[in-house]
Amino acid sequence: MKRSSPSRRQLLQMGAAVGGSLLAGEKALALEANPRKLGEPLGPYGERSPFEKAVRWRRDSKTPETGSSFTPIHDSVGTITPSALHYERHHSGIPAIDPSRHRLVIHGMVDRPLSLSMADIKRLPSVTRVMVLECGGNSAGEWAATTGADVQRSYGLVSGSEWTGIPLARLLAAAGVQARASWVIAEGADACRMMRSIPLAKARESSLLAYGQNGEAIRPAQGYPLRLINPGWEGNTNVKWLRSLRLTDQPYMARDETSKYSDLMPDGKARIFTYAMEAKSVITFPSGGQTLPGQGEYELTGLAWSGAGRIERVEVTTDGGKTWTAAVLQEPRLPIALTRFRLPWRFNGQEALIASRAIDETGYVQPTREELIAARGTNSIYHYNGIKVWHVRADGTVTNVEA
């Protein structure tokens, strides 16, 4: 009350001075008489605004410990996926691991088998890289045009994070890999002990042992406390909850590299060890399930990425592929990382077929769905990276072309 007294006087004086605006002064007075409520106090660990509702999506399942949850890429901005919204793919649930008891064992064809604590690993010189991670099965429904209604369900098994850890090569050198070793068999500490075979050349060249994600410890759903990161390779090879690296002279033909994550071709043969994720892009606004509120100017935007390096160019069509225009790419364009593209676009209330295509630094051009199917048929499930076309209708609603 004390505080409002001077302002009340001031307002009365002001109102008298300007004559006719006395009414406005009374209104301001009424506002001033309601003291503002204090906000929430400081907190130890932040939460997003309760008004923000973006969540991962997953199918109902009788076995919720296995399956996938999809990142809401239509609600994302920038190029980093919040750790809480990173896509998930688990095979037997998320293990609860005490990092003080977790060890990584490097064994097999090595001169000096090593057992490492998390403290050991964190003592070594670290590296940090922003990278994309994409499930090998992302967009699998596109092969048979049984795609999800929106971009989250059809393209949401992709996320971008900043990962921190150590180069695997450093520990391989310390363990003394024997000359006849050519593969690394990586195994997680989840209930099913998920296992993949990784060529030794990749492990030496670019694999990381990551313990950090987006400035804090990796989330349990993403492999806490330690995850193998194979830059540019399908998500499944980025073994979570990493507990064992076994050096061998042969791949172990694990279930998840033979029965799963292999690509069945029309002739009945399946491609195996198809690790790399090729260049891909998708428009996230406007995209399936969204409605443009009216005619006028919009910024069309989306994400592009490539397992082979930087995105060099993204081209957008708004006329069903007759003409393509280079979109603006958000800098910095980092290799093997989500790259946001943007293009101003005027919606005139006429239906439009819109799509994007990515070109990476190797010159690789994202193919059309038809080109992919001509090369691989429709039974391969994994590694779909075709151009995604959205149908913007005259009323502003957006759907799949097939819908």
Binding site: K62, T63, H91, S92, V105, H107, R112, P113, L114, S115, L116, S117, D120, P125, A173, A174, E187, A191, C192, R193, M195, R243, S244, R246, T248, Q250, Y252, M253, A254, R255, T258, S259, S262, L264, M265, P266, D267, G268, K269, A270, R271, I272, F273, T274, A276, E278, R313, E315, W324, I359, Y364, V365, P367, E371, L372, A374, A375, T378, N379, H383
Partner: protein, 180 residues
Amino acid sequence: MWRLSTFLLLAAATTVSAQSQAIQVGRPPTPEEIRELGSAIAPDGTGLPPGSGTVAAGQKLFAAQCARCHGPAGEGDVGARLVGGQGTLATPRPLKTVGSFWPYATTLWDYVNRAMPFDQPGLLEAPDVYAAVAYVLNLNGIIAADQVMDATSLPKVRMPNRDGFVADPRPDVRKDRPKP
């Protein structure tokens, strides 16, 4: 010797990397740690433990531990279908099962051992795993009812789709770069 030579090599490079390379971490794994890691099975049979299992024993075990998800005869339910599908891989509706698709019997042993039953992985002892594998192989007509699976016989089982896998030929969709 190794540490000294490594150190000298790196000292010749840069001071920073020599220092980081000089950090020695970890220790040899204990026998208990190695035991706890358990088996991982290579296609040549490396890693298979002692023990054996019969088709008959596998049938009983399957009924008790596997059928509730995979169906009484491996026809699939909540769990994957395990039998049939041979001859379908090159058709519009391929049916990928252990019998029609999996290239190595050792993979079945490895996966059952590490990941099954779904809700209690690690439950089965080695003889049980051999038995379960024997039964599923027999359901698919791959081994006879009187064959016994062990570390010697299992890697010799020839799966129908043994030659069904090829190397990654990508990039397989080639096109001219669009003009800027």
